[in-house]
């Protein structure tokens, strides 16, 4: 008994000790450099949303050197000819002699100096990706170019956008792009051109950067270009969430075609762009996970039709038919949010798709309005990256329902807003309209809708 009590005492002290380390210790992020897991004797920590690492990670893991000045409580980190000076509890860093404001700061945690990893890495030219679910920090080095800044060998003479999806960079001489990379907040694609400057005409206008806004385009908000270093040109595209690209080189010009990341063809010869795609299954053709979400269910019946039947029945019936068709496809795997008359919260539908890392999300609904004359088929998307998918699906859905075209529209319904893959919500027709309702509850029309939905998915994914 006594032993038991002391054991309890020990345990409570034990837990208290952990508690005193603070909530920061709860999540231990894993660090990867170029895909290699970095080992660290002292765990990295997340402090106020920033990953903080002990200095040893910088030297042992990342290959930087540093000098710690004890009196001044100051550390200087070196990478090549670059340096960063961080003082404890000071939000201003000195990067190559220039003060730079940080959103976080170096600090002492349990008497150990912890420094903000992403700030240092970004300043030293690493690209970062934070995988929230896995709690992983991925860092990527850009390919190193010969250091000596030679005379430029290429001159960009024009950067232009075709108004749809193509950005063209015209040049003279030779142009060789570094591997493009992504930066966040705002999300952007960055392409550096070493040994490259601009033609005199552009140089005369170039103060800082030249920026062109692109209005009302789901792919990008603007593009800009600057001289990043005396002989390094940089082109930046401020893209929407989930946008990837294909780069093609022609004589005298380099072209970038923007598209939803899912549409970017995977080139097996190239190392993949880290943020664009998840690791692929190594063998066989790619299998896409498709979430089919039958709207409503259980205590939420959805709309009430003029035939005195509920929307939830229609949604489920069509979803099951779609699933049956997907089961026949080798490259498509269907997943249903519900396969019977169950109530599911919207947030759980979102989580379902996110946990699956689904490739596409299709929510099946039928419409209703307190006016029986309103009729027709609508397709909704929320995020701009879903628009191309919505366009394809709507075209097919119209064939499926055979009803009036009420167009593709944007609206922030929860399941299509908060999922991160291309997502659409189909409002097949109005159950409050006699004609629509009769059609939607007919087996033949439901079969046709299911078949067209699958055709739309295949067209979008370019599956034969």
């Amino acid at each position: 008994m006594k032993r038991f009590v002391s054991m309890l005492l020990f345990l409570s002290v034990f837990f208290t000790m952990f508690a005193s380390v603070g909530h920061a210790a709860e999540v231990v992020p894993k660090l990867y450099l170029n895909g290699q897991l970095l080992k660290s004797d002292v765990n990295p920590q997340i402090v106020n949303d920033y990953t903080m690492v002990p200095l040893a990670v910088l030297s042992d893991g990342m290959g930087y050197t540093y000098e710690w000045e004890h009196e001044a409580k100051r550390v200087t980190v070196f990478s090549g000819e670059s340096s960063i000076v961080l003082s404890i509890n000071d939000k201003t860093a000195i990067v190559n002699g220039e003060p730079v404001a940080m959103e976080t700061m170096a600090q002492l945690v349990s008497n150990r100096t912890m420094v903000p990893l992403s700030f240092i890495g970004t300043q030293f030219g690493l690209d970062f990706e934070w995988k929230h679910l896995e709690k992983e920090v991925h860092m990527y080095e850009k390919p190193k170019e010969p250091e000596a800044p030679a005379e430029p060998t290429g001159w960009i003479k024009q950067v232009s956008f075709d108004g749809v999806s193509g950005l063209t960079i015209g040049y003279e001489g030779t142009l060789k792009a570094d591997k493009p990379f992504y930066l966040e907040n705002p999300r952007r694609i960055v392409i550096d051109f070493p040994n490259t400057a601009y033609t005199e005409e552009i140089m005369s206008q170039l103060v800082g950067e030249i920026k062109t806004a692109v209005e009302q385009n789901p792919l990008l908000a603007s593009y800009r270009y600057s001289l990043f270093e005396p002989t390094k040109a940089r082109v930046v595209i401020d893209v929407s969430e989930g946008i990837g690209f294909v780069m093609t080189e022609n004589v005298g010009e380099l072209r970038l075609d923007l598209m939803p990341a899912e549409e970017v063809p995977v080139d097996p010869g190239e190392p993949q762009e880290p943020p664009v795609t998840e690791p692929e299954t190594p063998t066989g053709p790619e299998v896409y996970d498709i979430v089919i979400d039958a709207g409503h269910g259980g205590k939420d019946p959805g709309a009430y039709s003029v035939q005195k039947r509920y929307e939830k029945e229609f949604n489920l019936s069509v979803a099951l038919k779609i699933k049956a068709l997907l089961d026949k496809e080798t490259q498509l795997k269907g997943h249903l949010t519900r396969s019977d008359d169950t109530f599911i919260e919207l947030i759980d539908r979102v989580k379902f798709a996110e946990n699956l890392k689904a490739d596409l999300f299709v929510s099946i609904h039928a419409n209703a309005i307190d006016k029986s004359s309103v009729t027709g088929t609508e397709t909704y998307y929320s995020r701009a990256a879903s628009k191309p998918f919505a366009d394809v699906m709507h075209k097919h859905l119209l064939v499926g329902t055979g009803l009036k075209d009420r167009k593709v529209k944007q609206a922030n319904y929860k399941v299509i807003k908060e999922t991160t893959m291309p997502a659409v919500l189909l409002e097949a027709g109005y159950l409050t309209n006699q004609t629509d309702s009769k059609a939607l509850f007919s087996d033949a029309v439901q079969n046709r809708i299911a078949s067209e939905v699958v055709k739309g998915i295949k067209e979008y994914l370019e599956i034969k």
């Binding site: 709309a303 919207l346 319904y413």
Partner: protein, 177 residues
């Protein structure tokens, strides 16, 4: 026999009216500035105010909100909110439809700048996704036009549910932007 019953019913109605203060005559003096002075002094000073307000309805094709100006009578801020909600439930012509008409209002309260609105959604009131968006938008626009309304807590049968009609998530409460 029938006569007695009718008389009893009449008496009940009169009594109920008196209790509820629904006698049209009592409200009338406020319309007439001369008569207002003669208001019985033993009544609590329930000043009847009037103000213009915009009630947000929807067009016949359910594509956008339509503004419908009305004059609302009220004595307290809470009554103003109630009057606006009541107007939100009325159509105002062919191209100004109320999506709130079939929704049952169980209670409306105003407390420290927050409107607590408890509703019941009968089956025939359940709309598709675009309709639900408009239901919420018209409520917000209508009530947030009043300076004193800072937030709206929309409850379904007393519960803070995730969604009113299964497409749009409800904020608990909706805050004025």
């Amino acid at each position: 026999m029938t006569g007695t019953k009718t008389r009893g019913l009449l008496a009940f109605i009169v009594l109920a009216c008196a209790l509820a203060g629904c006698g049209g005559g009592q409200d009338k003096p406020a319309d007439n500035p001369g008569a207002a002075v003669q208001e019985p002094s033993d009544e609590p000073a329930a000043t009847i105010n009037k103000r213009e307000a915009i009630i947000y309805l929807t067009d016949a094709e359910l594509l956008e909100t339509v503004e419908h100006p009305v004059e609302l009578s009220y004595s307290t801020d809470e009554e103003l909110v109630k009057a606006a909600v009541a107007e939100l439930q009325k159509d105002a012509g062919e191209n100004a439809l109320s999506l709130w008409k079939p929704i049952e209002i169980k209670s409306v309260k105003l407390d420290s700048g927050q409107v607590d609105l408890d509703v019941h959604v009968p089956d025939e009131a359940r709309l598709g996704a675009p309709g639900e968006l408009l239901v919420i938008e018209t409520l917000q626009k209508t009530l947030f036009q009043f300076d004193f309304v800072q937030s709206i807590e929309l409850l379904v049968d007393g519960e803070a549910v995730e969604s009113l009609m299964g497409h749009v998530d409800l904020e608990h409460p909706f805050k004025k932007e």
